[in-house]
């Protein structure tokens, strides 16, 4: 038996988030109204994505230091899970924006930054697919992955704060934590982030195992 406790934990948390997210108590705010529940999905997805990308970068660094191909497998699959979350984050954000800002894609620096961030990581996948040799692919895409993460963070978290954005925390808007983030929200929001991170790791883990099984089978075929 592989360790399955964290998978059970993941399922429990996700169900808790879905149920409490839809029926739990939330603060009443003008304009936002019930759509504040989207915090559990949209904001938490973005945080989970950033964490996964950070993890992916750490494994890329590890690959460059040690040269173990397994680290590169982890880096690439975690990055893929993160891109999946990124796309979901964009979609949930789009729904939210449609009801509160009146436009599914308002011209907002953070939104555009998010789109650019996803483009950067899609380019990472393209780069990976353009090499035949495994070690070569691992090394070059690790270099790009580290570079990409260093550019991704300013695009998402620093540049929008310098300009006027509709998002909280930019252009004079206050940040989330300051007044509308009460304890009821906290009780669901933090588990949500952890739950999504675990889900992402689970997706990545399955894909890594498939990859490794394929590698072993290929080697057996060659021999």
């Amino acid at each position: 038996m592989r360790k399955i406790w964290w998978k059970i934990l993941c399922i429990v948390i996700i169900f808790y988030v879905i149920i409490m997210g839809f029926i739990g108590p939330v603060p009443r705010l003008a304009i936002i109204n019930e759509s504040i529940r989207n915090t559990y999905f949209h904001v938490a997805l973005w945080l989970a994505m950033t964490t996964l990308l950070l993890l992916s970068m750490v494994f890329s660094v590890r690959y460059l230091m040690k040269g173990n191909i397994k680290d590169d497998d982890i880096a690439s699959e975690v990055a893929k899970a993160a891109i999946f979350f990124g796309i979901l984050g964009c979609l949930t954000g789009s729904v939210w924006a449609n009801y509160t800002w009146g436009d599914p894609w308002p011209n907002d620096p953070k939104l555009n930054g998010a789109a650019v961030g996803i483009l950067i990581y899609l380019a990472y996948l393209l780069l990976r697919s353009s090499f035949e040799d495994e070690q070569r692919r691992a090394r070059i895409s690790s270099v790009y992955n580290i570079f990409a993460f260093a550019v991704f963070i300013p695009i998402i978290y620093i540049l929008p704060r310098l300009t006027d954005s509709l998002h909280p925390g930019s252009g004079g808007n206050s940040t989330f934590g300051s007044y509308d983030f009460d304890n009821n929200i906290r009780k669901v929001f933090y588990p949500a982030v952890i739950g999504y991170i675990l889900l992402g790791l689970w997706i990545a883990e399955l894909r890594i195992r498939i990859k490794q099984i394929n590698r072993v089978r290929e080697e057996a075929l060659i021999e």
Binding site: L64, M65, G67, G113, V116, G117, L119, I120, A123, L126, L127, S130, F131, Q135, R136, R139, I140, S142, V143, Y144, I146, F147, A148, A150, V151, P154, I155, L159, L162
Partner: protein, 229 residues
């Protein structure tokens, strides 16, 4: 892991830059090709806008100029690794440290980009008119952009040159990464066009410089790994 066999010296970097200049000078077609590229792109834009030239707003003028420079930079720097033959690269690898090579390439590319964008700007202003009120700040902007584009694109060119379809890959990898820098540059250039006080632009200048710093540090740290494959 990639033990630099010796510490990099200023002398080494100077020699490498000099080597790039000599190489470029011997095969003049590369630089003159890029110059012709800028001039003809500007001319295409001029002719395309010809009928409506007086309706060209400052924003369009500015954006068009930087997009022309972006494409020029991508094309000019893409060849900085693919141009040299494999054997010669191996030879350099034995002679000098990878850090010295990447730093010298960045400096050399910055020089080339400054020349290209300076001449490009003169020609652009000549045919499309010059609405800039603060030429000094605009020159600083061109200089910062040249250094920034060169430092981002040098590492990307190194990555792309390792793959097979490097031309497509170069564009796909570099455009999203260079975007924050491009947006900052466009905003700084707009300040220069409106003749705003320099103190308004300090934010943009510091952001541009810090992006440059991050990118150059990363290139310095990561290039040795790229070099080995």
């Amino acid at each position: 892991m990639p033990a630099s066999r010796h510490h990099i010296t200023l002398n080494e970097i100077k020699t490498l830059i000099w080597k790039e200049v000599t190489l470029e000078w011997r095969q003049k077609y590369a630089l003159s090709g890029m110059l012709l590229y800028v001039v003809s792109t500007v001319f295409v834009c001029y002719l395309s806008f010809n009928l409506r030239r007086n309706q060209l707003t400052p924003i369009v003028w500015n954006t068009l100029f930087w997009i022309i420079l972006l494409f020029t930079a991508v094309n000019a720097i893409a060849k900085s690794f693919s141009q040299e033959r494999h054997g010669r690269l191996l030879y350099y690898y034995n002679l000098c440290s990878p850090q010295a090579i990447v730093i010298s390439k960045i400096i050399y590319n910055s020089l080339v980009m400054s020349v290209l964008s300076g001449l490009g700007f003169i020609f652009y202003a000549f045919v499309m008119g010059n609405p800039i009120q603060d030429n000094g700040l605009f020159s600083i902007c061109i200089l910062l952009a040249s250094i920034g584009f060169a430092s981002v694109l040098t590492l990307i060119a190194g990555i792309a040159s390792k793959a097979d379809n490097s031309a497509t890959l170069m564009a796909v990898l570099s455009f999203p990464i260079i975007l924050p820098m491009l947006l900052m540059t466009i905003r700084l250039a707009k300040n220069a066009m409106d003749g705003l006080d320099w103190s308004v632009s300090t934010d943009e200048i510091t952001t541009l410089l810090s992006i440059d710093l991050i990118v150059i540090t990363l290139s310095y740290l990561l290039f040795p790994y790229l070099w080995r494959s």
